[in-house]
């Protein structure tokens, strides 16, 4: 008979974790390039504990719930215009490549800066990689233009305002499987074990200079999920409570031979 509590408990633990995920999504409502997470539930059929208390025909297996995984929703976030020439919104597939002390990391946050050495860096100061390594600007460069395929050209130190040349092309990669990327915090993704990245061909890259990709979290969806989670949790709590009451009543009446 304890199974009622245990099945309820398995669901409650899963619901708590789902609320944790919803909380993280909502906390990152304004995080540039953020991708929301979803919890994937699975039925877990108990291999040993069988509900054969009452011997009604065949054994019936217990089924618990299991929060098997969190899946990242990789859908496109809305683009917001910022007017900064070093903000790059990434449309469609792909990730920018950044060089961190722990190796290459990937990001959808294209809000870049230039460091004291003139190199293109993220807000944390990690180098943004181009097709030929880090991208660097001269001090006299101005009028930085980034085309749709990521080619960066500048107006240099000349009076004619003619393009002075190219400063490289932003490297945009994608994993070889849909789930190749794993979140690493700081708006970065890291490659899952065994997965690989490949450069996207320039024709498949869709960059927008002066834009950033906002978080793809849909507040309405998250709020309705949150309500669902609280209601389910409360309902389970009351069912556990009723079960407890049932047991208490049973003990009281069965343990009293005079009644």
């Amino acid at each position: 008979m304890e199974n009622i509590s245990l099945v309820g408990l398995s669901r409650q633990v899963a619901l708590q974790r789902e609320l944790d995920v919803i909380a993280n999504n909502l906390a990152n409502l304004n995080t540039t390039g953020f991708k929301g997470d979803e919890v994937v539930f699975q039925e877990f059929i108990s291999p040993t504990a069988r509900d054969d208390t009452f011997q009604r025909g065949a054994d019936r297996r217990m089924s618990f719930v299991w929060d098997r995984a969190t899946a990242t929703n990789l859908g496109q976030g809305p683009m917001e215009s910022t007017g900064n020439s070093l903000d790059v919104g990434l449309g469609g597939r792909g990730y920018f490549v950044v060089q961190t002390p722990d190796g290459e990391r990937y990001t959808r946050n294209g809000s870049f800066e230039i460091n004291a050495q003139g190199q293109l860096v993220t807000k944390q100061g990690y180098q943004v990689l181009g097709d030929n390594g880090p991208i660097a600007f001269d001090q006299s460069d101005t009028g930085i233009t980034i085309t749709r395929d990521g080619t960066i050209s500048v107006i240099g130190n000349n009076a004619t305002n003619q393009p002075a040349g190219q400063r490289g092309r932003l490297r945009v990669v994608d994993g070889n499987t849909p789930r190749a990327m794993e979140k690493a915090g700081d708006n970065l993704f890291t490659l899952r074990g065994g997965a690989q990245v490949a450069n996207l061909p320039p024709a498949n890259v869709d960059l927008r200079q002066g834009y950033i990709e906002k978080s793809n979290v849909t507040p309405v969806l998250e709020m309705s999920r949150m309500i669902e989670v609280t209601r389910a949790y409360t309902a389970l709590a009351s069912s556990i409570e009723r079960h407890d009451q049932l047991r208490r009543d049973a003990i009281r009446s069965l343990g009293n031979p005079t009644s």
Binding site: N84, K123, Q139, N157, G194, P219, T234
Partner: protein
């Protein structure tokens, strides 16, 4: 419950957004002001079940794991360096920059600061100064006998002296620009300082080498647009509310559990 703390980081992030927005709105009428934007990053993920692990019973590999994030943290308040509207003022010493560049200003302690605020005045010695009295660098002195002053788009300052027909050049206003102007440090009073992130200034006359041109009798307004600030404010306020709802939801769940034991 992790959700309580996660939502708290979300609420703090929205508070920061509101602070930045309120400073933008407060400076809506500040000459040459550039609006700021708060930027955020997600925090570390707790890998509760790693993807790629062997699923012991069947020998399958888990395609996805459980990774639960722990909230949000501020990453930067970056400045949006777009051009502000240029408004005519009919004052001789009001100068707006159209395009790239900053005026150079000599601070009393000897440092050089940079500004887009070209509402200049003359001090008692006839020197061109900012409204705070800081000297414009390189220094420009207008003779007391000058009748009219013209500042042309290339920065040349010309005056016509009394009893003379031909205008005389008294100096040239120079501009400085930075490879990463978003990396300049704001020190208030519409002034910026050079930092390691901004790089060193390139200084030339206006209108050459990609530098902006000057516009006399005009001032650059702030680039704050009321409509977008207010809509950002509404978005931040609603996001704050939603994070607060998570806290009450988590509280309600904990309460329903604790009430079982009476």
């Amino acid at each position: 419950m992790r959700a309580l703390h996660t939502a708290a980081t979300g609420m703090m992030a929205q508070e920061l957004t509101v602070q930045v927005i309120s400073n933008n709105i407060a400076n809506m009428r500040t000459t040459g002001f550039k609006r700021q934007r708060a930027e955020f990053q997600d925090m570390l993920y707790d890998q509760q079940r790693r993807a790629g692990m062997q699923n012991s019973q069947q020998g399958n590999v888990l395609p996805v794991g459980i990774a639960i994030g722990s909230g949000v943290k501020p990453a930067a308040t970056s400045r949006v360096m777009s051009q502000g509207n240029i408004l005519p003022t009919e004052k001789d010493y009001d100068v707006a920059i159209r395009g790239e560049g900053y005026f150079r200003v000599q601070l009393p302690d000897g440092r050089t600061a940079y500004t887009r605020d070209g509402s200049f005045e003359l001090n008692d010695q006839g020197q061109l100064v900012t409204v705070d009295g800081n000297l414009v660098d390189p220094g420009i002195t207008i003779p007391t006998t000058a009748r009219g002053v013209t500042i042309n788009p290339s920065g040349t300052v010309q005056v016509t002296l009394q009893n003379q027909v031909a205008p005389q050049t008294v100096g040239t206003i120079q501009l400085s620009r930075f490879v990463n102007k978003a990396g300049l440090e704001s020190i208030g009073d519409n002034l910026f300082l050079e930092t390691a992130a901004s790089g060193q200034p390139t200084t030339t006359a206006p209108n050459v080498d990609g530098m902006g041109s000057l516009l006399q009798k005009n001032l650059e307004q702030s680039n704050v647009t009321a409509v977008s600030e207010i809509s950002d404010l509404i978005a931040a306020q609603r996001a704050y509310e939603m994070n607060a709802r998570i806290i009450s939801a988590a509280d309600q769940m904990l309460q329903s559990t604790s009430q079982i034991m009476r």
